[in-house]
Amino acid sequence: MKGLFAALFSGLLFGAGLLVSGMTMPSKVLGFLDVSGDWDPSLAFVMVGGIGINLVLGRLLLKRAAPLWGAGFSLPTATAIDGPLVWGAVIFGIGWGLGGYCPGPVLVTAAGGGQALLFVAAMLVGMAAEDWFARRRALAQESCVGDG
């Protein structure tokens, strides 16, 4: 239960961070991505702040044996720079550049209604589609191993 409240609080804080930073404004995001136009570099400082605080405190945190209310730290284990990583980033980047929304900000912005809601619906379809393909790929691999 404590863990659920912590997750709720983290989500609130995350949403506040997106609002304060300006990430919820697609026009600002597109202005940041428009390097050759009237470039607005301010959103680079979102990464400076977010990464900076994690570089220092996150490092200390992960030295602990376990999180406060969990068995262990759940960190990604993949290390390969592979096709899905790169192509996924390309596809994501094109969508980000077209709409000016990435997943966190658009969920916050959807509270205001409008096209953000439509974007969220399309995003959920895209995510579910990829997860469906991934499961099929995994099943196909399993059956190959089983046959061999």
């Binding site: 863990g3 994690n54 980047g93």
Partner: protein, 140 residues
């Protein structure tokens, strides 16, 4: 407040939120992973739902208090919005993360995969904006 300071402060709040999630329940604040975790049959779903409720509550409060932070990307037409949403959803899952999981959490852990991802999606997004705004002449 200067936009640079707003962005820095906002970024620190994002980083702080990620620290809270990792420090309390040991999970990464990657939004695309959290959202899709909702329909994973194996994952414990409670914390993802709680995090998203918090995110949506921040949106509701933000819309009431600071409506100017919602500039409605309604400049893009419906087909573009739908296409962009599909691409963002599909790509973030295929690439194992987005601006939060790779861009903040992964880079702060000095993950080479995240560095490749961030470099790639920044470049792809930049090229897309260049094509839309300066070659096709669309957009704002």
């Amino acid at each position: 407040m200067h936009p640079f300071l707003q962005a820095l402060l906002g970024g620190m709040l994002l980083g702080g939120a990620a620290l809270v999630l990792m420090g309390t329940i040991g999970r990464t604040a990657g939004i695309s992973g959290i959202v899709s975790g909702l329909w994973k049959p194996t994952a414990p779903r409670g914390w993802q739902a709680a995090f998203l409720v918090g995110l949506l509550l921040a949106g509701v409060a933000g819309f009431a208090l600071f409506p100017t932070r919602f500039d409605a990307g309604d400049s893009a037409g419906l087909p573009v919005t739908i296409a962009a949403g599909l691409l963002v959803g599909f790509g973030s899952r295929l690439g194992s993360g987005c601006t939060s999981g790779h861009g903040i959490c992964g880079l702060a852990r000095l993950s080479p995969r995240s560095a490749v991802s961030v470099g790639t999606f920044m470049a792809a997004a930049g090229v897309t904006v260049f094509v839309v705004r300066h070659l096709l002449g669309g957009g704002q």
